[in-house]
């Protein structure tokens, strides 16, 4: 039975998840018509209805019906609706459903259990908790991706604190929290642990601001905890033995991922924890765990499906000649193992221990393992089922050829540089890329760092791997042309957008003229995320993209000669985007002001590095995003919001 909430003073025709279609949700507080092309049927629907307590959707005047009343036909309809909408899980479907009419809006809000917020500043916690009252799972994303590369001041924001306070009151039955690029403090974690008695899953990706003391709170208080995943987060060492804080009784722990936690742990406590967690399937150890210790854990948990192997080297105090455990058997016993990672400080001699599991592996992450092609070959030769592979370029083109020869099911490949600077040697090149394109026809996602590339290889990949969804090529030397022909890399990227019909994410590099962008604008109709660095000649480049890519949601640009005119050409589209980032381009504060004035629902943040005095008129960093709340109040001094 749908229980009517007390009437609100205004509608929320807003959608924290802003749909990707060309529509603008705005609070109906505004009687102004929405900008240009976004008049929708829903807006007209909402403008007709006044505050209502019933589910009726006819456009009559304000209702004077008392709040609680006997069920009537529309109420029944709402009950039915509630039962039906429960089955809708996709948030896009739910967003669509919520726009049908007032009744559907309300019922959808009551039945939504998973909340996804792509930008924590797009709306306030209060707004979210007011609309959605029965949430069990929240996904929250904060800083823009370029924060990972130190382009954002550390005090910029994305604080979890206001969210956890609001949720502590509104969602006491919260079970799952997934945060990405948020600043989370130990206090936040303590509040979380105290407030949600049924809490089950905590996933922190690229977060910072907390330490092992925060983890200790979670470990000790969250008795129903099943998942504790810390992925690429910065965790400070408060010298707290958090592993010992888990309850002594048998645990329902299913996943424990802490490979990014760079502090030593109490291994004996960990071993006991693993022993009393029969449901444990995923375990990723940090590099303080030696291979000998790994062995002990594997023996305790042969049921693991995902294993992060820690350092994969013997501890310092193992004497030579001492009997080493049988690593091969330990791996052989893990019959369910499908995902292997770790190898943080690998001694390559031990790598053959993983032979028994290779044939079953679907995911292998060797991206911290400095191994060469020769060492890779015997491993990869057996990995017929491999779908995801992350490696270092230390394997060279030959290593990639070996991958191409065996891994016919490969969906995702990432090749990271062992020496991430512009003038390093670059052991992988177009040769490796070409080989992969020929061998791994099912490739959907690639991230490839290199120093040398040719258009021909990129074109080949565009033809050989038509299923590509993500294509990210990083030629590390800036402005590097095709090293064989000397030409810009325009044609290569052009071919990618032309031939890969499912492409949604693209990162470009190398020497690129406006022509490359004209290709992207012309053919990149499905592109949602675009990353640009050190590319383009003029404003036209950016214009092509803003005018040509209707699905564009996230655009991040650095060090490219795009100015105010280009920025203004995107006015029609910015409300449909999650954000735009532009740093070290040719924007002036005047241009940014213009945008801010034209689009009141856009928050336009300008960050100027104080050090740069003779920047002249140019804006150092622009970060803008749509928001229902207007300028935030937690911005540091370096950020000015126009």
């Amino acid at each position: 039975m749908v229980i009517n909430k007390k009437p609100r003073s205004h509608n929320h025709s807003l959608n924290p998840n802003f749909m990707r279609e060309d529509r603008t949700e705005m609070s109906e507080d505004d009687d102004r018509s929405p900008p240009s092309d976004s008049v929708t049927t829903t807006d007209s629907c909402f403008s007709k209805t006044q505050t209502r307590t019933s589910g009726s959707t006819s456009g009559s005047g304000p209702s004077s019906v008392p709040e609680f009343q006997a069920p009537y036909p529309d109420q029944v309809l709402e009950n039915v609706l509630e039962n039906v909408l429960c089955f809708l899980t996709s948030r896009r479907d739910r967003n669509a459903a919520s726009l049908v009419c007032r009744s559907w809006y309300r019922v959808e809000a009551l039945t939504r259990s998973e909340l996804f917020i792509g930008n924590c500043y797009a709306l306030s916690p209060r707004r979210a908790t007011s609309r959605f009252t029965r949430i069990r799972s929240v996904t929250l994303k904060g800083k823009p991706r370029f924060a990972d590369f130190n382009l954002l001041p550390p005090t910029w924001g994305a604080y979890f604190a206001p969210w956890v306070s609001a949720m502590a009151k509104a969602y006491p039955w919260l079970e799952k929290l997934h945060l990405k690029r948020m600043t989370v403090t130990d206090d936040d974690l303590a509040l979380l642990a105290e407030s949600f008695s049924g809490f089950k899953e905590l996933v922190l990706v690229c977060c910072d601001g907390f330490g092992t003391s925060g983890l200790a709170y979670v470990a000790s208080k969250c008795r129903q905890l099943r998942v504790l995943d810390l992925i690429e987060s910065e965790v400070s060492d408060d010298e707290v033995d958090w592993i010992s804080c888990f309850p002594e009784s048998e645990m329902c722990l299913e996943s424990l991922i802490f490979d990014c936690v760079d502090c030593p742990i109490n291994f004996d406590a960990l071993e006991r924890l693993v022993a009393r967690s029969p449901s444990l399937r995923k375990l990723r150890l940090n590099r303080s765990v030696s291979i000998g210790q790994l062995h002990r854990l594997m023996v305790r948990a042969p049921q693991l499906t995902h294993l992060g192997t820690g350092s994969f080297r013997p501890s310092e105090d193992v004497a030579h000649g001492e009997q080493e455990p049988d690593y091969v058997s330990a791996f052989a016993a893990c019959e369910s193992l499908v995902c292997l990672s770790g190898f943080r400080e690998i001694v390559p001699d031990y790598l053959p221990a993983i032979y028994p599991v290779c044939a079953n592996l679907t995911s292998l992450n060797l991206s911290y393992a400095n191994i060469n092609a020769e060492q890779l070959r015997p491993i990869i030769r057996n990995c017929h089922k491999l779908q995801i592979l992350w490696v270092l370029d230390s394997i060279c083109d030959e290593g990639l050829q070996a991958v191409a020869a065996t891994c016919k099911e490969l969906h995702e490949l990432r090749v990271f540089p062992i020496d991430a600077c512009e003038d390093s040697e670059g052991p992988v090149s177009e040769v490796g890329l070409q080989a992969i394109s020929e061998g791994c026809r099912k490739l959907q996602s690639i991230l490839y760092f290199c120093q040398r590339m040719t258009n021909a290889a990129v074109i080949a990949m565009s033809k050989n791997c038509p299923d590509l969804v993500v294509f990210r090529l990083c030629i590390m030397g800036r402005h590097r042309p095709d090293h064989v022909t000397g030409e810009p890399m325009d044609e290569g990227f052009g071919a990618i957008v032309m031939n890969c019909k499912n492409l949604t994410r693209l990162a470009v590099s190398g020497l690129l003229t406006d022509r490359a962008f004209s290709y992207i604008g012309r053919y990149g109709k499905t592109v949602r995320t675009l990353s640009v660095a050190f590319a383009g000649d003029s404003d036209m480049g950016l214009k092509y993209v803003l005018e040509g890519c209707p699905r564009l949601q996230k655009l991040e640009i650095r060090d490219s000669p795009f100015g105010d005119a280009a920025l203004l050409s995107g006015l029609h589209h910015y409300y449909n985007m999650r954000f735009l980032w532009m740093s070290s381009c040719k924007l002036t504060s005047g241009g940014c002001q213009q945008i801010a004035r034209a689009l009141p629902r856009l928050v336009v943040e300008v960050i100027n590095d104080e050090a740069d005095e003779d920047m002249g008129n140019f804006v150092d960093k622009l970060y803008m995003y749509r928001s229902l709340e207007g300028p935030r109040d937690d911005a540091p001094k370096v950020v000015s919001i126009l």
């Binding site: 990972d148 400080e345 991430a420 512009e422 800036r478 590095d609 050090a611 740069d612 003779d614």
Partner: protein, 202 residues
Amino acid sequence: MAFQRDGDLNLEATELRLGPPGTTEEPEKQTHPTTTAKCNKRSLPDMNEESAGSRTNNSNVSNEKKHDRTSPPTKAQVVGWPPIRSYRKNCLQAKKMEAEAAGSGIYVKVSMDGAPYLRKIDLKVYKDYPELLKALEDMFKFKVGEYSEREGYNGSEFAPTYEDKDGDWMLVGDVPWDMFMNSCKRLRIMKGSEARGLSCAV
């Protein structure tokens, strides 16, 4: 196949310089709006940039350190480029520096004429030539004779040689130990007439 290390380096095409795109000798049509001082400034490993725009974490600091180690640096490092997460950069950076500093070993193969197997040794284990030679003698059961600069190894039919970075075969002992450690790619203990030839060739 493997990329060519030697041969056509085509340095000019890949030469990196400070400056806006296209201002190289390459015949590209690049129309250049006048670049502001900002573009150049961004390329400098300015201390100001570090404190203002970035966390004071290892990544930039280690970039600086790395900078010092490469000699000579052809290009200044830019903030946040290449786009690798600090965490990953630090991990690998740390490993490299550890390897350089603490010494993860310089492993070279050693072959001896007439012996059916190769051996591998860690040059870092030895602190000078006598130690190395003694180890080789023990390993292969032979005697190496007296070394003199003019005459090479006298009194033995064996001569220890090594291939250096340029691909040349040199007599072990001719260059200072440190230089040897840095340039030695592999060792070969020559026997018989070849060995004698070497000792006179100096």
